[in-house]
Amino acid sequence: MSDLTRLSADTMAQQLVSGQITSVELTQAHLDRIADVDRAVHAFLHVSSEDALSAAGDVDARRAAGETLHPLAGVPVAVKDVVVTRGMPTTAGSKILEGWVPPYDATLVEKLRAAGMPILGKTNMDEFAMGSSTEHSAYGNTHNPWDLDRIPGGSGGGSAAAVAAFEAPLAIGTDTGGSIRQPGAVTGTVGVKPTYGGVSRYGLIAMASSLDQAGPVTRSVLDAALLHEVIGGHDPRDSTSLPDPVPALSAAARLGAQGDLTGVRVGVVNELSGEGYQAGVSARFEESLDLLRAAGAEIVEVGCPSFRHALSAYYLIMPSEASSNLAKFDGMRFGLRVEPEDGPVTAERVMAATRGAGFGDEVKRRIILGTYALSAGYYDAYYGSAQKVRTLIQRDFDAAFASVDVLVSPTSPTTAFRFGEKLDDPLAMYLNDIATIPANLAGVPGLSVPNGLSDDGLPVGFQILAPARADDRLYRVGAALEAALEAGWGGPLLAQAPELEIAR
């Protein structure tokens, strides 16, 4: 029955509705797959077999009783470990939260449960979502299913790898500077960062509050739209949540899949190409533009001059907010508590000892950066200036979207690199997110769809950006490109991935 794991989530949902399969069978197939391959991939930090099977059994019983269920009811999902789950350990990839079991569910988890989607477990990630390779997890590396010696991207490497390795049909990621889209690109999966405020942040362990956004990680554009529709929408518990209803995303994906983009104006961002982009990445990008053109889209070049300052602004705003958001991890109320080895055990010294032992190097680096940037006397020069750059970037987007419907670029400048390659060079690591960061700074939505293999045989991603609240455009254009690409490949890109060894 392990064939089940190869289906799209959309097909799984249809077969559940028609009674061809049960959710228990489907969920068990994925648990089996996890047992088979996760020792090699290590996408999961926690597998919640009992919980998932019980939720699956419940859905099957309700379906048998004739209840009307959510379209995705019974389709299992994996959740990035930065999202709090009631009764299920949540670590955010950090030692400082080892063993912490939250007493409440994130809003998006409530929505998954309410839709009857069994939660398979929690996926690995860079500690507190800080990184682009998942090498900063306190619980070991996640391996890219395309090449186990390579990184799966980050911070959401676990969710992307789980989906790419058929351990889960769907997963939840979070994206502060590219943590959904870049892992999508390097694992040959689809990842979407919704409009800021489109998905509730209540229950997301915050890195940078003004940038964080949760979204779908899937194997197809339609599946992403379906999952996005489950988790999106207004949440009164998140003050920054948009009041709008979720747009018709799966309809947009189905429309796009028909292949007609006549009248759609696509802008190529000049600043997100050229130097630093791997040759194979650039070649696939150009080929994809040709496919869009062939589908009837009009391709134009667009200048976004402030984008070249995006990385610098991001690395001031993000650590500033993170330094404050991470202050609560102090050993006083939850999680790790470390007493100083010698000297008096005072609150202050316990806090210092706990944070010293509980946080990894990258987290400490960003806390120090942020603390410095917010300090009296430096605030205007650093945080203040960065906010001004942010405004300029938003204006660049506004100007661009006045003349085009979507903007496009390669998602990531390179394919997956080998473990350790950039670990000691933070700047090189940060550059992975050069193309994805502008969307977070402006709050606009972005999607990465696999668009082929580079010269090294590793997957490459194509990024589509749309104006705030126009997430439906991502799905229409993304699905159109996906359909054209898959027509050429004769199937999904992941079919070309090497088979993982079954280790049982």
Binding site: V83, V84, T90, A92, L97, W100, P102, P103, Y104, A106, R201, Y202, G203, L204, I205, A206, A208, S209, S210, P236, R237, D238, S239, T240, S320, E321, S323, S324, A327, K328, F329, D330, M332, R333, F334, A347, E348, M351, T371, L374, S375, A376, Y379, Y383
Partner: protein, 501 residues
Amino acid sequence: MSHTAPDLVDYDEAVARFDPVIGIEVHVELGTLTKMFCAAEVEFGGEPNTQVTPVSLGLPGALPVLNGTAVEYAIRIGLALNCQIAESCRFARKNYFYPDVPKNFQTSQYDEPIAFDGYLDVELDDGSIFRVEIERAHMEEDAGKNTHVGGSTGRIHGAEYSLVDYNRAGIPLVEIVTRPIEGAGERAPEVARAYVQTIRDIFRALGVSEARMERGNVRADVNLSLRPTPESPLGTRTETKNVNSFRSVERAVRYEISRQAAVLDAGERVVQETRHWHEDTSTTTSGRVKSDAEDYRYFPEPDLVPVAPSREWVEEIRATLPELPAARRRRLQGEWGYSDPEMRDVVNAGAMELIETTIEAGSSPAAARKWWMGELARTAKTTEVELSELPVTPEQIGQLQSLVDSGRINDKIARQVLEGVLAGEGSPEEIVSARGLEIVSDDGPLLEAIDAALAAQPDIAEKIRSGNLGPVGAVIGAVMKATRGQADAGRVRELILERTT
């Protein structure tokens, strides 16, 4: 910890040689049903850590949502203090590590307060008005409550361990900051006390807080500095924290004036620091040194959107503001016809509401004042209770006065009836009928008594007959005595004159 008592300069001498400048920060806990940023219910005296949510515990993933009622209350306060209300303002994060702050930052307004540029006219004991300029009123959340166990001081240093109760964490506060209060001179302590008292009365009148000082609903931090003359630049200030009664506010200012004068006289510099107030000894001791370089790394709270109260809403709130205490006092004084000193005595005695209700119950303003400021004030003083704590209601006093006004009892009997009321014998009506105190209005017994009195003193009767009315009073007195006071003196006089003409 032992302290050597610091040198103090005699207060009068200190204010003769130095000009004090005060600044007061008042924190008021708003009486909302739930906390500032979450739905945890707020109730005084709950079991520790029962009034909490993931938000007020600062759990990972939790997000704040602003309490709309708290914003409305803050605007009410701002309007009552004659402030401008911001068109748009933000919260900021004040970052510092302390176990009673669950997120290790306090969500507080910083450079964008909801209300600013106001003033409060404060009435001093002699009836003069002192205007205190208000710099700002801003919203923030309270911290949890630490209890330091073990050690002698009750403070964190020397404690064996500390307990934290997060019930208080996240309770909405409004902090009202004055501009430097200059020109109060020797009356600085009185101005400080009167300001806190006035603003506390306003909180109650607005219905935004129970404003009970003893529960810590209202807390005052008192800044004080001295300078040689009013023309000199401001001196270095100290901030005496958590001075939580009106009397203590006055005393704390007095004490710091004497202490700082001694420091300056000794040629030393006042240390800029916070100071602890000691209620028992009425002294302050050094707290933590506060330098301007203290860095809270404020930045705009990214989890909250700006607060932008519409002008329509602000005007709606303004229209529903109740009459404020000072205006009400002025109105009542006019209606009652009291002189300034009379009204001041009434207010200082806490008798204004009592008199108002007494008048509503049928008494004249003059009679109401006579009861509460006379007989009852004396009783309260001898029994050492507040007027409002006496076992008599304003309604009963109103009834008592009605009995007098309708001629059913006279003033002297009324005092006996009041004693009965205070002794718990019942209402004035009940006591009058139970004790048979009603005035004798039947002329028969009165005439008998008059005839007896006139017969007993024939010379007096003769004088009256000849037109000398001087001795009438003596005859009335004799009749009153004979009737045990239960006669209407007016009627007795009429009858005497009838009998002697």
